[in-house]
């Protein structure tokens, strides 16, 4: 079933006068693991910030289901974004709170659950990401990989429909990154969430991506979309092939080694 959860129409993004990307059109379907890829500095993270409502587009529209994010008033907008969970590149954990308090924050602030129930949910979410027993640690006491997993536990606190990841495996060793990928896959399957990932980690892109778009920094727009494997097999754009093969193969000899 291909039910659109987010549709982007004619989106242009800019910082002041500087255009980042223009005329973006794509759809994220329910259950997708949607990869936003592209070279460094092409506007991947900026696109993510637009999708989660942190930045306003220069032009164009973003729809959640059928409702426009930009046309919505503050209340309606909160409702639309309420079912989002976001994991920032650095985890984004509040450094003055313990892990348990961090994970509990969205729960205490947007629900009326009893303290005991919140404690249970926090313990459960931390256990899901393999951090059971770390409730009373502060973020600074944990390794980078653990901080990311704790950020993931917090992003999942309200059982989101859509999980956003900004470079989840940046700064992690290959094994830890692989574990995080597996975790994302397993959570997607068991929570039936939609996942949107910004990454340029090829291993992750091929391992978990079910759909993808490729942003190009030179032409400042989206130059390809589709599943990463299909893109590698059928794309004729040398930029995409170079990206997906770490620049090892030119477009001409693709298919031989792909």
């Amino acid at each position: 079933m291909n039910q659109a959860v987010i549709s982007v129409r004619n989106l242009s993004m800019a910082y002041g006068e500087v255009l980042i990307q223009r005329d973006l059109n794509f759809t994220i379907n329910r259950g997708d693991i949607f990869v936003i890829m592209g070279g460094s500095g092409c506007g991947k993270s900026t696109l993510l910030r637009h999708l989660i409502g942190l930045q306003a587009p220069a032009q164009g529209e973003i729809f959640y289901g059928g409702a426009s994010l930009l046309a919505a008033g503050p209340q309606a907008r909160q409702q639309l974004l309420r079912k989002n969970g976001v994991l920032f590149q650095s985890g984004g954990l509040l450094s003055s709170l313990t892990l348990a308090e961090n994970v509990a924050l969205p729960l205490t602030e947007s629900t009326r659950l009893a303290a005991k129930k919140i404690r249970d949910i926090v313990a459960y979410k931390l256990a899901l990401v393999g951090l059971a027993g770390f409730e009373d640690y502060y973020p600074a006491q944990l390794s980078g990989g653990m901080q990311k997993r704790a950020g993931l536990a917090r992003a999942m606190a309200l059982d989101p429909d859509i999980l956003f990841f900004d470079e989840p495996s940046a700064g992690l060793d290959p094994i830890t990154a692989k574990h995080l990928d597996d975790l994302i896959l397993r959570l997607r399957d068991s929570l039936s969430a939609t996942v949107v990932i910004v990454t340029h980690e090829l291993a992750s892109i091929f391992a978990i991506g079910s759909n993808a778009i490729f942003l190009d920094a030179d032409s400042k727009t989206l130059i390809a979309s589709g599943s990463p494997h299909e893109l590698l097999a059928s794309s004729s754009d040398p930029k995409i092939i170079q990206f997906l093969t770490r620049g090892n193969h030119q477009a001409a000899d693709k298919g031989v080694n792909a």
Binding site: R49, L81, V86, G91, L94, P106, E109, R154, D218
Partner: protein
């Protein structure tokens, strides 16, 4: 080649139409450097089209020192139209030069900082002042709306954060406030005593110290201490939270950063400042008493009596109000600079510095205005 280092040398020879640069010895960063200026200018004066090559048979060890010299020579040669044969250089150097002269892919190189003329820099300064002012107004406006939302129950902060902030800017600041106010009281007493003793009026030290502390110095010193201690801390805390994506994370969790982070900090400082000011007044008066009693033979009862006579309720109230205003200004400057902070470590430092500078400017201006008003009103 041995491990003992040989002096670097560079010589330019001419064989008919071919010029030859002989490089000998060790060219190392930690060795004495060889001045190549004369060679470079000699190359600059060669006729265009002449050929240049290197002989490196006696070249010892080398590092970046030699490579940069060769780059300089290549560039001068390029400008004067001298043809250089690079193949006579060691292969490793050729490889490095190849890397240096490969243009980065697809990048048009722009100089990030354009040198500005002084008129431009004045214009930029003026523009940044007016930007600062409008940012301040916008921030105040947002705060008012946030307070309105808080009162209507549309957004909220954690009560425990408020208590933590009060603890942080109140009791934790007592030692430094004690020390500074005692000393300021002492200083006031000494300065006054020198003049008053000319008239044999040392007893009025009590008046001078108590009025000076309550109306002016107590509040001012507290404000300056707190702008350095708490204002800077607010800016650094909020700035670091921005760098770490914590503020964005709050937004995605439907928590308004202004309500959640800024309001508890501002409330704490605004509540605590007047109390700290009263405490500072008291400490200053005690400091003055210490000088008067030990050095100028004034008894404790006399000092207390004079103080009670000199200071009226209105003096306390004026100091109190001033300090409350200072509290608002310090909290405003600290939080504003923190929320404006860029996304780098140096930006956090800048935010803290600029929070202190901004709040001290605010404090002094506000103090002058309020003193003037009190003077006009005759209180």
């Amino acid at each position: 080649m041995g491990t003992s280092s040989q002096t670097a040398d560079i010589v330019l020879h001419q064989h008919q139409h071919i010029y030859e640069i002989a490089l000998t010895g060790d060219w190392l960063i930690d060795a004495e450097s060889k001045d190549t200026g004369s060679i470079v200018s000699a190359i600059g004066q060669l006729p265009a089209g002449s050929r240049l090559l290197f002989t490196t048979a006696e070249l010892g060890r080398w590092d970046s020192v030699l490579v940069t010299e060769i780059i300089t020579i290549l560039e001068v040669a390029h400008q004067t139209g001298v043809l250089v044969d690079r193949s006579s250089l060691p292969e490793a150097i050729q490889g490095l030069l190849k890397l240096v002269y490969t243009a980065p892919e697809g990048a048009e190189i722009k100089s990030p900082i354009q040198a500005a003329s002084w008129i431009d820099s004045i214009r930029q300064t003026l523009a940044s002042v007016s930007n600062d002012l409008s940012a301040l107004l916008e921030f105040v406006g947002l705060l008012v709306m946030t307070v309105y939302d808080l009162l209507r129950g549309n957004s909220h902060f954690r009560r425990v954060d408020l208590w933590l902030q009060i603890q942080e800017c109140g009791p934790a600041a007592l030692p430094i406030v004690t020390l500074i106010s005692l000393l300021v009281g002492l200083i006031l007493a000494f300065v006054g005593a020198v003049q008053l003793s000319l008239f044999g009026a040392e007893i009025y030290i009590a008046n001078l110290v108590s009025l000076g502390m309550t109306r002016e110095m107590g509040g001012l010193m507290t404000a300056i201490i707190m702008s350095g201690r708490t204002g800077a801390a607010y800016a650094a805390q909020l700035g670091t939270m921005r760098v770490n994506d914590e503020i964005d994370a709050l937004k995605t969790m439907n928590l308004e950063p202004l309500a959640f982070l800024v309001i508890p900090r501002m409330t704490a400082l605004i509540l605590i400042m007047p109390l700290l000011c009263l405490y500072a007044d008291l400490m200053g008066i005690i400091g003055g008493a210490m000088v008067s009693i030990t050095l100028f033979d004034i008894s404790v009862t006399e000092y207390v009596d004079r103080t009670i006579n000199a200071v009226q309720m209105k003096d306390f109230v004026i100091g109190f109000i001033k300090c409350a205003v200072f509290g608002i200004l310090i909290a405003l400057a600290g939080c504003l600079r923190g929320m404006q902070c860029g996304r780098s470590a140096s930006a956090v430092g800048d935010a803290a510095t600029s929070a202190v500078v901004t709040s001290i400017v605010f404090i002094v201006v506000a103090d002058s205005v309020m003193t003037l008003i009190c003077n006009r009103l005759g209180v």
